[in-house]
Symmetry: C2
Subunit: 336 residues, 2 copies
């Protein structure tokens, strides 16, 4: 049986690009369009779009019917990314200047707001649109709440009294999981469910694929955290989470458990220092690497992935069980 | 025939408050709720909500059926206000700290994003919801584009190269009207149309009330501009548009036509100075007051109001023709 390559996944996901660009051009001022297109033109692997389309195919539907649903899910994702970069003052994404960096914060805000309205247009073109809308809106609310929690995990770097007063100094791993569940896994789950609905399938498949998506999402985010701290040449700022004072990172949280008092205090000191220098970020990375955190995270991610794959038994001997399983492997390998 | 008092308008508009608070509490984290409620609890006169409900009544519907539609329109408005305060770094609104001032920019962004999702929930509860959704989404896109144009009317104060490169130095009054049409009148039109649809009325009434709303919106914004420069004790920062370097203000634009070269250069100098002091803002106001700009704006607004009222003939001798006419008068008196 032929296996799904990463190139193939990207090729599938990218099918939404013309759909997205067309939707962005509809009802928008001509002068506004280049700014609206920018974020989608600098790259992105459309992983969530691929998830929608593959889940549609796995549910017996035609990929063609999943194009608008996949574009909608990708719009949710990219809307949240542009907003997220404003919150985190992100400078680089996909190896290119972020939208806020390219157009300034104010225009960036308007671009993101416009994405939210275009999301609505895309949903209008979906099969089972009332159901898909409900799933997308629920995921959006989860993402917002996940982002809210993520901010509370920060240890310094913002002076607004409201956030300072609500900081979580010693988060449990359980709370971390709740945060990434909302911030990341909810949209993977939504993508899988929306894909299944696009094939007009029944609740059993929708639910199983949704659970698959949820677990893949958790695995993906844990690996994304590891990559942030331990990875190199990712197209993002190195050890970005450390620079952003984020304790809401699996590798950092786990490292904290292993480090001896002195090292732990040093890592905490870096995360709570008003500005983290490149040298401090490198030191933080080194401290994390002294522990088995990277390995522990990989273990956690592969357990989630294993659990995810168990939900694929609902597909029986369909070749898409293999395809989705491969998709999960690629997701945690973070070749994405 | 008893006339509509301002108190009565506000009483009608405020009927949406419990609907809005209930919608905000649905699906939101308990800790998030006080921040979500804040903006609606500090005040606001729910003028657009009143417009929806009065137009529903004028179209023969029950006010009860317009509650969710009115709450939806008010949600669009307040979503855009919270975002707008982030763009303009607003400190005070309705005499109280803005959401961004109270909770910081990041949380403010999440609050606004959540409003946008709650808007969707409110629309779900509307009669003719597909139509109402389309109107709301279209209005939202217009508001975004109006805001984009408004930014281009600014003469200084932002250093992002994108905006600096796109500044409009000598806007025509026509372009100003296009900007306020999108920024303000589009939502008044949407409110009126949505009100008419809530009564399940036909296209003739929908269109006439929509045109009424559009013209009232233009009149309202022109008067809002005048009030910004010439008013006192408005609950907003005095001459806020000058402080924000905005040439997109009817009073300023018209004053520019009347001022002699030297005064004109001084006003332009203030609008283009990197930071506008309180003294400069007072000077700008004084320059505007030297001209007939205030009077000219009042004239323009009352012409729009007159044109608006002509659309009410569609209601025949209904008492609501009088009610809506009174609503228009209150709107331009800007007792709101």
């Amino acid at each position: 049986m032929s296996r799904l390559s990463l190139t193939e996944i990207i090729r599938v996901g990218r099918k939404v690009d013309p759909v997205i660009l067309r939707a962005l051009s509809h009802d928008s001022a001509k002068e506004f369009r280049p700014s609206l297109y920018y974020h989608f033109q600098v790259g992105g692997k459309r992983m969530r779009a691929a998830m929608v389309m593959l889940c549609c195919a796995a549910s017996g539907g035609r990929i063609q019917n999943a194009l608008n649903p996949a574009a909608a899910v990708e719009m949710v994702h990219n809307y949240s990314l542009v907003m997220d970069d404003m919150i985190d003052r992100g400078e680089i994404r996909r190896g290119k200047p972020t939208v806020r960096r390219e157009f300034g914060d104010s225009t960036s805000l308007l671009i993101a707001m416009f994405y939210r309205e275009v999301l609505d247009d895309l949903i209008q073109e979906c099969p089972r649109r009332a159901v898909i809308r409900k799933i997308a809106v629920t995921a959006m609310k989860e993402i917002i709440d996940g982002e809210r929690l993520d901010l509370q995990f920060e240890q310094a770097g913002r002076d607004d009294p409201f956030l300072t007063a609500h900081r979580i100094r010693k988060p449990s791993f359980q709370l971390y999981l709740e945060m990434i569940g909302k911030k990341t896994a909810s949209l993977f789950q939504a993508a899988a469910e929306i894909g299944a609905h696009s094939a007009q399938t029944g609740p059993r498949i929708v639910q199983a694929l949704g659970s698959f998506g949820w677990k893949v999402g958790l695995a993906f985010q844990v690996m994304d955290d590891v990559l942030d701290i331990c990875g190199e040449g990712t197209g993002k700022q190195e050890a970005k989470d450390v620079v952003e004072h984020k304790l809401g990172n699996a590798a950092i949280l786990i490292a904290m458990k292993y480090l001896h008092e002195k090292d732990k205090a040093e890592l905490q000191g870096i995360l709570t220092s008003p500005r983290v220098s490149g040298r401090q970020a490198a030191k933080a990375k080194q401290l994390v690497m002294k522990t088995p955190a990277e390995l522990a995270c990989k273990q956690i991610a592969s357990e989630y992935l294993q659990e995810a794959k168990e939900h694929l038994t609902v597909l029986g001997r369909s070749r898409y069980a293999v395809t989705l399983s491969d998709f999960g492997d690629h997701a945690i390998k973070r070749a994405f």
